[in-house]
């Protein structure tokens, strides 16, 4: 395979195809036994088989029409096919050991099919019968082959050559169309990447908005909701409160009245204070009056004293009168001070008795 990157211009796709075919044929030939210098035609075995089918058909023409035995036909067909594989195996062309295994499989299939009593004329029924008879053998053979290291090595080489060719082919096509100033798949893919990037950014914005709505807005709205619920609960109590307010108005009026009455309280209290002072004065008066009986007793005693004084005075008057008479009879000097004293004493007594 030509190395990539050494070409100076766009490669011809057809030339590349031809190179690929040559290369893969060489790869197959390496893995096949019995092939030395020349290429192996992968379809050679099938051409041989088709030739044998033609030979069989020529033989069938010899048989009279309408009286062919289907079993005989299939027997001949199977015999021809088995012969092909046997010859191929004996000739040494046995790629990957397939020929030997397929020979065994054909032998087993022929035995199973011909073991049936009647070969159904209905082709579909026959296909089903043929499949049921041979599928297990087929599966075993193929399963044994495709899991072997030999097969995997061949598959690996095929994969590597095919992927190398495909990569070169793609690049060549890209270059070809680029030179023709036509958009290529990679150009369109690049634009699509930009669109995807833009979509990502819009997605981020949408995510942020949804996060805000889900987390913050919901928290806020849930708080608001709670508050609203609380306000609503309070408002539900409003009619009762209003009723209470109405009652309060009545109470207010009564309170006003009470207040008015209470406004008179200070004056009343002052009166009470005055009353207290009066009470004290009364107490004082009472105290004084309590002394009155004693005083009255004293007055009574005073009266008695006054009476005694009056008697004493009368006596003194009589005495004086007598003395005066004595003096008249005798001319002598009478003391004036005694009369004035006597008259003052009378006035004093009269004054005190009026009190």
């Amino acid at each position: 395979m030509p190395e990539e990157g050494n070409s100076t211009g766009p490669a011809d796709p057809i030339e590349l195809w031809e190179k690929w075919y040559d290369t893969t044929s060489k790869a197959w030939s390496k893995s096949l036994d019995g092939s030395k210098e020349a290429f192996v035609d992968p379809f050679g075995l099938y051409r041989t088989w088709l030739k044998s089918v033609d030979v069989t058909q020529e033989q069938m023409k010899v048989s009279p029409l309408g009286k062919m035995d289907p079993k005989e036909i299939w027997s001949q067909w199977l015999g021809a096919s088995v012969d092909v594989w046997r010859k191929a195996s004996e000739g040494g062309a046995d790629p990957l050991g397939l020929t030997t295994q397929w020979l065994e499989m054909m032998e087993e299939a022929r035995a199973r099919i011909l073991a049936e009593g009647n070969i159904p004329a209905d082709p579909f029924t026959f296909i089903k019968q043929w499949y049921d008879a041979t599928s297990e053998t087929w599966a075993k053979v193929i399963g044994d082959i495709i899991g072997t290291d030999r097969f995997m090595e061949s598959a690996k080489e095929f994969t590597e050559s095919y992927t190398s060719f495909y990569r070169t082919f793609r690049r060549a096509n890209e270059e070809f169309f680029r030179n023709l100033q036509l958009p290529t798949r990679s150009d369109i893919a690049r634009v699509a990447e930009l669109v995807i990037g833009l979509e990502d950014k819009v997605e981020l914005i949408q995510d942020t908005l949804e996060d805000f709505e889900d987390n913050f807005a919901k928290a806020i709205t849930s708080d608001l909701k709670e508050h609203l619920d609380q306000v609503e609960m309070k408002l539900d109590a409003l009619p009762d409160i209003l009723q209470q307010l109405t009652a309060v108005d009545g109470l207010e009026n009564r309170l006003d009245q009470v207040e008015m009455k209470l406004d008179a309280l200070p004056g009343t209290l002052q009166q009470l204070t005055t009353m207290d002072s009066l009470e004290n004065r009364l107490k004082q008066v009472e105290t004084k009056l309590d002394t009155l009986p004693t005083t009255l007793q004293k007055l009574t005693a005073v009266d008695s004293l006054e009476n005694r004084l009056s008697r004493v005075e009368n006596k003194l008057d009589k005495l004086l009168s007598g003395l005066e008479k004595n003096e008249a009879s005798e001319p002598s000097v009478t003391p004036k001070s005694t009369n004035s004293t006597r008259s003052k004493t009378k006035e004093t007594k009269q004054g005190s008795s009026k009190d």
Partner: protein
């Protein structure tokens, strides 16, 4: 005359059947698949997140997000009415979503598991939770989708992840357990870099060939023998046509993801050793602690029993179950065993884990 007429009718019927078969062979199988009503609730690049319309009242608050593989199309989970896991789950009252990766283009050749596990799946989970008004989610991964789901669960083991269901999800890629895949993807015979450099995205045909060659006789011949048999016997062709359509409806494998899948998983078996890193974050399956239902097929030759069972010894979940179905890789989803065994098991398990 009547015998001639009978022969003529027989010939006409036979010809009609022949024509039916040839149409399928020449034009490909045609079938109405993915018929469960759904709507697209989110897109990212080529990926689409579908929400299946509920048919009955939702019984379970935990929605299910199905994550398929990067190869083939996910409508196998919703193959046809009466043969659809999605239809079954929706009918039981689950809220079902599906992440369809779409068909990658040339611009997606650099997409890797880092992008799928760290960008696509987390965003899809967020969208599902939002659409379903849920706080937790059940992830259901099939095949490679199960491997990706397990990696996501290992990196994000906490809420909102509630349950993990793995369907034929390989986690251990020991060569001895992989059969022919272990031979074909061996470092000795297969270099993924060459394929990625040549093709960009690995063609669907190449992936399909690899899968078919595990059982070549059955896949290449047996399926058509079955087709003819069913046509000739007048049996229903609906399921065969739907399956054939799906098998031939592959999608390219993004190049970088293919390189990772072959090199890190198949060749070096890094996942089971805990050596997979996605954007510097080490994937350790022992971080998975949620309830896990791990389902595998006894006759599965693509994800063998040991490959799936290895998950059980790697995870740290207390509530975990390994369930084996006597079916193949696809048969356990859509065959008679699916309806009799798998679907009831899924229903019972998810009912008890979705309350």
């Amino acid at each position: 005359m009547s015998q001639n007429k009978t022969t003529q009718n027989d010939l006409e019927r036979a010809f009609k059947k022949y024509r039916t078969g040839m149409e399928i062979i020449l034009e490909g199988a045609k079938a109405d698949t993915g018929q469960s009503p759904k709507e697209v609730i989110w897109t990212k690049n080529k990926a689409k997140l579908y929400h299946y319309e509920p048919m009955v009242e939702k019984r379970f608050p935990v929605p299910i997000l199905m994550i398929y593989a990067l190869i083939n199309r996910p409508y196998v989970l919703d193959l046809m009415p009466g043969n659809s896991l999605v239809e079954f789950l929706v009918g039981q009252g689950f809220d079902v979503f599906m992440l369809d990766w779409g068909t990658p283009g040339d611009e997606d050749k650099n997409l890797s598991f880092d992008d799928y596990v760290l960008d696509y799946i987390p965003r899809a989970v967020k969208k599902v939770l939002r659409a379903s008004h849920a706080e937790e989610i059940t992830l259901l991964g099939y095949c490679m989708g199960g491997t990706m789901t397990a990696m996501y669960a290992a990196l994000f083991p906490d809420k909102p992840l509630r349950n993990l269901v793995l369907l034929t999800a390989p986690t251990d890629f020991a060569p001895d357990e992989m059969g022919l895949f272990g031979v074909w993807t061996s470092e000795k015979y297969f270099n993924p870099d060459r394929v990625v450099e040549a093709f960009g995205n690995v063609p669907a045909d190449l992936i399909d060939t690899g899968n078919r060659m595990v059982r070549p006789v059955t896949n290449y011949v047996g399926s058509y023998v079955t087709m003819w048999d069913r046509i000739m016997q007048g049996k229903s062709m609906d399921t065969w046509l739907a399956m054939s359509k799906w098998v031939n409806d592959g999608v390219p494998f993004p190049g970088e993801a293919f390189r990772q899948w072959i090199r890190d998983f198949y060749q070096q078996n890094k996942l089971v050793k805990g050596e997979i890193t996605l954007r510097g974050r080490r994937v350790d399956l022992s971080n998975i602690t949620c309830p896990v239902l791990n389902i595998a097929g006894k006759k599965d030759h693509i994800c063998t029993l040991p490959q799936a069972e290895a998950t059980m010894r790697l995870i740290s979940s207390q509530d975990k179950e390994f369930f084996v179905v006597d079916a193949g890789h696809v048969g356990l989803l859509t065959g008679s065993e699916a309806r009799k065994v798998l679907w009831p098991k899924l229903l019972t398990w998810m009912e008890s884990h979705s309350k």
